[in-house]
Symmetry: C2
C-alpha cells in the first residue's frame, strides 16, 4: 500500500497534521498520488500503531486534540527499504480512453476532448509556474530537491503528451463533422 509511503515522503520533508497532509495531497503530491482526508486519517492511525509516525498532541478544550505527525526512525527506515523495491507500473484506468475507443457519439466525444484539453493546459501552466518558481536552475540541483524536480518534470512531460494527443483527437473529430 503506497499511500503509507507517500505520507512518509511528505512527512520526511516536514511534519504536519492530518489536515495539513490532506492539503498537500490536494496540491503538489496530489499530482502523482490522490487521497482524501478521511483516508489519510485512517492510514495515519494505522501507521502510528505500527510505529512509523509519532504524534505531538495539542489539547483543545471541548474539541478533539490537534495531532501533529512526524516520521519516526522506523518510518525513515521503512521508506528506504521500500525505495529499494522495484516499483510496479501504474494501473491503467482511463474512462476517457474507453469512451474514445467505443466512440459511440463523436460529437459528444469532441466536446469531452476539448474539456480535457482545457484542463490539461491549465495543469501544465501550473507545472511550468512551479518549475520556474521552485527550480529555476535545474543544473544546480542535488539530493531531495533533484527528486522533486524530476517528479515535476514527469508531470510536465505527461501533460504535454496529453495536450498533443487531445489536439490530434480534436482535429480528427472536427473534420469528421464535415
Amino acid at each position: 500500500m503506497a499511500l503509507e509511503h507517500a505520507i512518509l515522503v511528505s512527512l520526511s520533508e516536514k511534519s504536519a497534521t492530518g489536515y495539513g497532509l490532506a492539503r498537500r495531497f490536494d496540491a503538489s503530491i496530489g499530482h502523482f498520488w490522490r487521497a482524501t482526508h478521511q483516508q489519510i486519517y485512517k492510514v495515519l492511525a494505522r501507521m502510528e500503531e505500527a510505529g512509523l509516525v509519532s504524534t505531538k498532541l495539542a489539547k483543545r478544550d471541548g474539541r478533539l486534540d490537534k495531532k501533529t505527525y512526524s516520521i519516526t526512525p522506523a518510518g525513515e527506515q521503512e521508506l528506504v527499504r521500500w525505495s529499494r523495491e522495484p516499483s510496479n507500473r501504474e494501473v491503467a484506468r482511463s474512462d476517457f480512453t474507453v469512451k474514445l475507443r467505443g466512440l459511440a457519439d463523436p460529437v459528444a466525444m469532441r466536446i469531452d476532448a476539448q474539456r480535457r484539453r482545457d484542463e490539461v493546459a491549465e495543469e501544465l501552466s501550473a507545472f511550468e509556474e512551479s518549475r520556474a518558481k521552485h527550480h529555476p536552475d535545474p543544473a544546480e540541483l542535488s539530493g531531495k530537491k533533484l527528486g522533486s524536480y524530476l517528479a515535476l518534470l514527469g508531470g510536465i512531460h505527461y501533460a504535454q503528451a496529453d495536450l498533443a494527443w487531445c489536439d490530434e483527437i480534436l482535429a480528427r473529430l472536427s473534420s469528421e463533422e464535415h
Copy 2:
C-alpha cells in the same frame, strides 16, 4: 463504475466468454483499463441481472456451462448514455513518482528508472507494431476504427513521453554518481 462500460465497449465489438474478455483485458483493452478474470465474472453477473448483457449457454457435462456474452439493446443504449457524460480525469497513483520525489536511494532509483525505461520501450514498440498492422492508413479511418486508432495514439504519446522522462532521470542520476 467504468469496468461495466469497458466490457460493453468490448462486447459491442464482438461477443465473448468471460474468459475471452479477460484475455482482451490482458491485451489491447488492458492498455487503458486493467481487470482480472475474477472481477470480470463478478461484474458480468451483475450486468446480466441488469439486462445489459445476455448469455448463450453451451452445456458441458460435469463442468459449469460455457457462457457466451453479448451486448443487449439496453446495453447499447447505456453505452451511448454514458458516452455523453463528461469523463473524469484519471486518478493519479504512481509508486514510481512517489519514490522519485522522496529519492531516498539514488542508486536504487537509477536501476528502477532503467527497468521502467525498458518496459516502456517494449510497450511502445508493441503499440507501433499494432498501428502499422491495424491502421496503416490513418487518413482513411472513420467511425469505430477511428476511435480505436485514436485510443492507440494516446498510448503512443504517453509511452514516448515516459521514455523521454526516463532518459532525463537516468542522465541526471548517472551524473550524480560522479
